[in-house]
């Protein structure tokens, strides 16, 4: 059971959500899963499919010099959301690699809230979206750096590829920085497939659908490049490849 009140459009982190879908599942939604990563350890979480409700929530504490990696693939849901709040201890690291593949009128989103509480923490977030038809793909990424969290190094890279003119990409970085010795980099792009590259590939004999597939696979692969287990990375890339094929 979920005791929290139903979010509205006024809640910043739900502003692009499909609230009708949220309302249908809200009452029965599981609470956020709490994870604790002990000092000096390395935990990994991979999400290759969303639950029936479409919504996954995590609340993670990463202790000193520990590391937490989340890699997730969002697809196949009318509404899907991966939401994660992370608190980083001294020298801790959070790695996010997220891919969104949406079509039809699907609304898929990744929402992060990374709190650099102690000094020397690092975080790196990479999100790649491929959006077809009238779908919406969003990334809302909040980074907080506490007064004591000097030498924080936080990065976000968000890129979206629109396959159709009706698709929508949202990328919302939000930085709240109270320390002065901090590096926070964020970059966001929205684009279409490079026509020149498609023609170049065609002159080498690649049919358009094969050329598009190769380019989109390469685009999405950025999100999974940080997975250190080759078999796991290939499995996730394989799922993404199937998902890309189903966008058409």
């Amino acid at each position: 059971m979920n005791a929290l009140t139903l979010p509205t459009r006024r809640d910043e982190s739900w502003r692009y959500s499909d609230l009708q879908s949220v309302e249908r599942v809200w009452a029965d939604l599981d609470p956020a899963q709490t994870l604790h990563v002990p000092a000096d350890s390395h935990e990994r979480l991979r999400v290759d499919a969303l639950p029936e409700s479409g919504i996954l929530r995590y609340d993670v504490t990463v202790e000193a010099n520990a590391r937490f990696d989340l890699h997730c693939l969002l697809m196949d849901r009318d509404y899907g959301r991966v939401e994660i709040a992370v608190k980083l201890g001294d020298g801790a690291h959070f790695e996010l690699g997220g891919a969104i593949l949406a079509k039809g009128s699907q609304v898929l989103e990744i929402v992060t809230d990374v709190e650099h509480v102690e000094p020397n923490g690092t975080s790196n977030q990479t999100v790649r979206s491929v959006l077809a038809d009238k779908s919406t793909g969003s990334f809302l990424g909040k980074i907080g750096v506490a007064r004591d969290a000097q030498r924080t190094d936080a990065a976000q890279s968000v890129k979206s590829m629109l396959l159709d003119r009706g698709a929508t990409a949202n990328a919302v970085p939000q930085l709240e920085i109270f320390a002065d010795d901090v590096k926070c980099a964020h970059g966001a792009t929205v684009g279409e497939l490079d026509r020149q590259a498609l023609f170049y590939m065609a002159t080498r004999g690649l049919p358009p659908e094969v050329a598009r597939g190769l380019m989109l696979q390469a685009f999405i692969a950025d999100a999974f490049i940080g997975i250190d287990d080759d078999a796991a990375r290939e499995a996730l890339e394989g799922k993404a490849r199937d998902g890309l094929e189903n966008l058409r």
């Binding site: 170049y200 002159t203 080498r204 004999g205 690649l206 049919p207 390469a218």
Partner: protein, 249 residues
């Protein structure tokens, strides 16, 4: 092999080719020279099928097929190769993967058996060695971070692997230092100087033509071929300039 008759082509509302005719037979090497803006690159793009480059009049047939009616990838499978003046970068797609997919797509389109990974790599090593390209570069993303000269050599490695019937090479010599020019010239001769193949070199300069000696040299000016001769015409152009020859024609 290639038969172009009275070809007119436009980009948007701008007419670039204005009645170009050219016949290339198997075993021949042709060079097209001409000033900037004459339509040299446009000719390559129209024959390759680049979107936005529209043939408005005339015809181009390749081995008896109507080239202008085919999709770009079908033209490639039929044996046409277009070497780019500015080869395009494809982030995240390795040269090896790209070329294996390309070669096998062409073989499939022609009803031939596809190459296995091992067979392809063997061929790739051979062609890379011919063009003096490091195999490490074959594993890198297509043209990403390559120098101008490396991109041009990569075009020739691709040509070697694809093994086309007709290669249209658009300023493959530009941006090459002397040693790279020799390597590329030797590559073109080794891969393409065969009785059943033909080459159309698009170039500004005489240099490449000393290495890959053409059977015919054409001067393209204002969208048409205004003069045709043998290799001596290229020398004459180098000495006298395009303007004098285009005007006298």
């Amino acid at each position: 092999m290639l038969n172009i008759e009275n070809l007119h082509a436009s980009i948007g509302d701008t007419k670039i080719l204005k009645g170009l005719s050219l016949q290339i037979n198997a075993g021949e090497i042709h060079a097209i020279m001409g000033p900037n803006g004459a339509g040299k690159s446009t000719l390559g793009y129209v024959l390759g099928g680049r979107p936005g480059y529209e043939a408005t009049e005339g015809s181009a047939s390749f081995d008896g097929q109507d080239l202008l009616d085919m999709d770009p990838h079908a033209r490639a499978a039929a044996g046409l190769f277009l070497g780019f003046q500015y080869p395009v970068e494809i982030p995240g797609v390795s040269n090896v993967q790209f070329l294996r997919e390309a070669v096998n797509a062409q073989r499939t389109a022609r009803g031939e058996a596809t190459l296995s990974g091992g067979e392809f790599l063997k061929a790739a090593r051979e062609k890379a060695a011919l063009l003096k390209m490091d195999m490490d570069m074959m594993k890198r993303a297509v043209n990403v971070g390559f120098s101008g000269g490396e991109k041009k050599r990569n075009e020739m490695v691709q040509m070697g692997l694809i093994d086309p019937k007709l290669a249209i090479l658009d300023e493959t010599d530009s941006g090459l230092d002397i040693d790279a020019l020799r390597t590329v010239g030797a590559g073109i001769n080794t891969i393409m100087r065969k009785p059943d193949k033909a080459v159309l070199l698009i170039t500004h300069y005489q240099r490449l033509l000393e290495l890959v000696e053409p059977d015919f040299v054409h001067v393209l000016a204002n969208g048409r071929i205004v003069k045709t001769g043998g290799p001596e015409l290229a020398l004459q152009l180098e000495n006298e300039g395009y303007e004098a020859i285009a005007e006298a024609a």
